[in-house]
Amino acid sequence: MTEAIDVAGLRKSYGKTLALDGLDLTVTRGEVHGFLGPNGAGKTTTIRILLGLLRADGGTIRLLGGDPWREATALHRRLAYVPGDVSLWPNFTGGEVIDLLGRLRGGIDAGRRASLLERFELDPTIKARAYSKGNRQKVALIAALASDVELLLLDEPTAGLDPLMEASFRGCIEEERQRGRTVLLSSHILSEVEALCDRVTIIRLGKAVETGSLAELRHLTRTSISAELARAPDGLDRLPGVHGLDVEGNRVRCEVDTDQLDGLLRQLSAAGVRTLTSQPPTLEELFLRHYAGDGPGEHGAVAANRGGGQA
């Protein structure tokens, strides 16, 4: 059994609102998997189904080899969860919450707890009502990271953290990966996902629209090229995978599908390259292409963008 999470055709609606519309998600054991999408795309609903808090309307779900709805309690001992908006009991101290959640999960590593408190600079004697959003999030993160579990489900865990703490968080996730733990990291912070994740699933309107390693996804994106040539180029418009071609005398600007880059460069060198700037594809570009011009209910946009990307 190598899949920590294996979800196929997951469907869930709240009344008339369709939250998940046939979502597929596969997370292999030992990987850090980025789960990307804007607010309202269905990330939190997916995670809550994986936790057995919500019942799926359809589809198959395997979590650590079990059924999260029927075997919730047994599976929960093997995972830890950090919600996106952490709300705590106002008159508990941070230390009490960390211990309570850790013990309910089946035990907490005292040494690791202490070192995490230090790394995240959290004072455990303060009552939760006095914590800021970021500090409440740290409480949940420490409780999760200090537990000895196989799988971490993190729902936008860094939304309230400052840049220094975000760096600590990235360090911690890197260590988790080295320990061989599986992490599902839901986020809309692309740099975080780019820095941490082995593989990424992008979801939109309750469906996975892209999934794969970052390298694979980059293949689907375009590199921006801007060049100054010795003479006017020839035949660029006939090359496959070239988009938005703009030729002004000897100057060329265009975008090219990354897997067609080679052909374009050969054509450009034939015309004698004076200067060349190329911008590599970013996850952000990929992401924006899926969501560009996204309005409620514009299902058609995905297919159109997708077609453009793979032409």
């Binding site: 809550r48 936790l51 808090l53 919500l54 019942r55 919730a72 309690t73 929960h76 001992r77 995972l79 830890a80 969860y81 919600p83 908006d85 952490v86 709300s87 705590l88 009991w89 106002p90 008159n91 508990f92 101290t93 230390g95 009490e96 919450v97 960390i98 211990d99 309570l100 959640l101 013990r103 309910l104 999960r105 089946g106 004072d123 455990p124 004697t125 303060i126 009552k127 009502r129 006095a130 949940a140 409780a143 489900l153």
Partner: protein, 532 residues
């Protein structure tokens, strides 16, 4: 910019947010007065009929503790007497909900912070809440008076009666304003203010049913006592009506002073650091529920002990209350003075049953607020299952309800034994009488649990409505003739009248089984449904 800048705009906003709630409260309370006048007019159309009712029922200490003293035998007097306690509780609750909603609850959720960043003075939110609450009480008072006059009651008396209810609302407007400064959450502020309301009701109950030399002055401490002490349809004491406005001005001033002395979103109690580690026992859903509920339970049980001692020690002299020779004869026919003090204690202990039911419902509904405020998710995402989590809170509801009732019985027994003698056997008798209320209170809690599992969205409103209906049946059932099958809806109708009455175990067993079945249905529903 002064501390009141923006009050006008906030008042409009509050009025808009509350428009449905206010209409419902005002309509319901006005209708309540109108129905009482109408009902009493049909039941006792003549002075002779009213006189007969008053001699038999009007001197019953149980009724006196429920409704307060009766001044005169006119239809108006009877109406004022019947409505005094519930009318005052109604306006008091309405005022508490309005004030806390627009002050502490908004501050806790952060809505007030958003508003506060606009040019809005420090006292604007408090004052706008006070304006809305006072306005609601004035409108309500005017409509109640109009309704009473329309049903044929004298104008002066109608105005005095309605002003008494509105005055009680004003007093609790002030109480809620102070509570909103002291407590740090909306829930705690409401709890504190409602606690004062319940304490006031109990003080009035004890004061009104006290014997000739007993603590009658206790009634003056209770705003719902003022509504009857103004003697609306007798020789009206108009000066009593000043008490409500005076109370709201004094308390609101106190709240405004307190508001300056604290930070936004802070209570007045200082923040102290707590333990860096969880106690070794904090490792199960039950331990979590206990930790969340223990302070509340401690407050309730101390109040229960105090209340028990007061009613227990006032029970002995209860016979002196009866004025007419005729009613004395009735009492003796009924079984003499011990029967009388038993009836008195049984009536007051059945209040305790209702109050314990209120406690139990609030504990059960904690499950729902833990769920909606997203504190349940992290717990349910651990090895703690849904059922274990819910059972943690339900166990506290059961144990707490039993504790409150046993401790009330204990206090009553100690107070009674101290004044009237009788020692340990009296104490044991009254502890059992208190405990006998538990099955009925737990049925109400069971309904709350069933709603939480099966119809979570309706659980808050539904559970409190059920409790409200049960309270209403107890109050109405005692005077207006209601068919027995309607009264039978309330689980409290089926309890043996203890102390004094025959003990029958069957209804207690049945009620307990019903409570268990309801809770089981709730748990089964919880297993199947989505969280939130």
């Amino acid at each position: 910019m002064n501390t009141l800048t923006g009050t006008g705009a906030l008042t409009k906003l509050a009025g808009r947010r509350d428009r449905f709630m206010l209409v419902i409260w005002i309509y319901a309370l006005t209708a309540f007065v109108a129905f009482t006048v109408y009902g009493l007019k049909k039941l006792y159309p003549t002075a002779a009929a009213r006189e007969e009712f008053i001699t038999t029922a009007g001197h019953n200490p149980a009724f006196l503790s429920l409704y307060g003293p009766l001044f005169g035998n006119s239809l108006g007097s009877l109406t004022a007497w019947r409505d005094a306690a519930l009318g005052g509780i109604g306006t008091g609750l309405m005022s508490i909900f309005i004030v806390v909603r627009h002050t502490r609850a908004d501050e806790e959720t952060g809505r007030l912070e958003l508003v506060g960043s606009a040019p809005v003075g420090r006292h604007a939110a408090l004052v706008s809440a006070l304006v809305v609450a006072c306005g609601a009480n004035l409108v309500l008072g005017a409509l109640m008076a109009a309704a009473a006059i329309a049903f044929g009651l004298p104008a002066a008396g109608s105005i005095a009666m309605a002003a008494g209810f509105a005055g009680c609302g004003l007093a609790f407007t002030g109480v809620a304003a102070v509570a909103a400064q002291l407590a740090q959450t909306g829930r705690a502020a409401r709890g504190l203010a409602i606690g004062v309301l319940v304490a006031a009701f109990l003080l009035r109950a004890v004061g009104d049913s006290a014997s000739a030399h007993g603590p009658h002055w206790l009634s003056w401490l209770a705003p719902m006592g003022w509504a009857e002490l103004d003697q609306a349809f007798g020789s009206v004491r108009w000066w009593v009506l000043v008490l409500g406005p005076v109370a709201v001005v004094l308390l609101a001033t106190a709240a405004a002073v307190l508001a300056v002395r604290r930070d936004y979103d802070a209570g007045l109690l200082p923040q102290r650091p707590g333990p860096p580690r969880g106690a070794a026992s904090l490792r199960s859903p039950l331990a979590l529920a206990w930790r969340l509920q223990r302070a509340t339970l401690l407050a309730w049980t101390s109040g229960a002990l105090l209340y028990g001692v007061v009613i227990g020690s006032s029970a002995k002299g209860i016979g002196g209350l009866l004025g007419s020779a005729q009613s004395r004869r009735i009492v003796i026919k009924l079984g003499g003075h011990s029967a009388l003090s038993n009836a008195y204690l049984a009536a007051l202990l059945s209040f305790t049953g209702l109050i314990a039911a209120g406690y139990a419902v609030s504990v059960v509904l904690r499950l729902r607020s833990e769920e909606t405020e997203e504190r349940a998710d992290p717990v349910l995402a651990t090895g703690a299952g849904r059922i274990g989590w819910a059972l943690g809170h339900l166990s506290i509801a059961v144990a707490g309800t039993v504790a409150i009732l046993v401790i009330t019985g204990l206090g009553t027994g100690l107070g009674y034994a101290y004044r009237a003698g009788g020692g340990g056997s009296e104490v044991a008798r009254l502890v059992l009488a208190g405990l006998a209320q538990a099955p009925a209170a737990l049925v109400i809690a069971g309904i709350a649990a069933a709603l939480f599992g099966l119809a979570p969205k309706a659980s808050m409103a539904g559970s409190w409505t059920v409790l409200g209906v049960v309270v209403l049946l107890l109050f109405l059932g005692a005077t207006v003739q209601i068919s027995q099958w309607v009264l039978d809806i309330s689980p409290f109708t089926h309890l043996p009248k203890l102390p004094g009455g025959p003990v029958s175990a069957a209804p207690l067993v049945w009620l307990t089984l019903i409570a268990v079945a309801l809770a089981a249905a709730g748990l089964a529903g919880l297993r199947r449904r989505d969280i939130i």
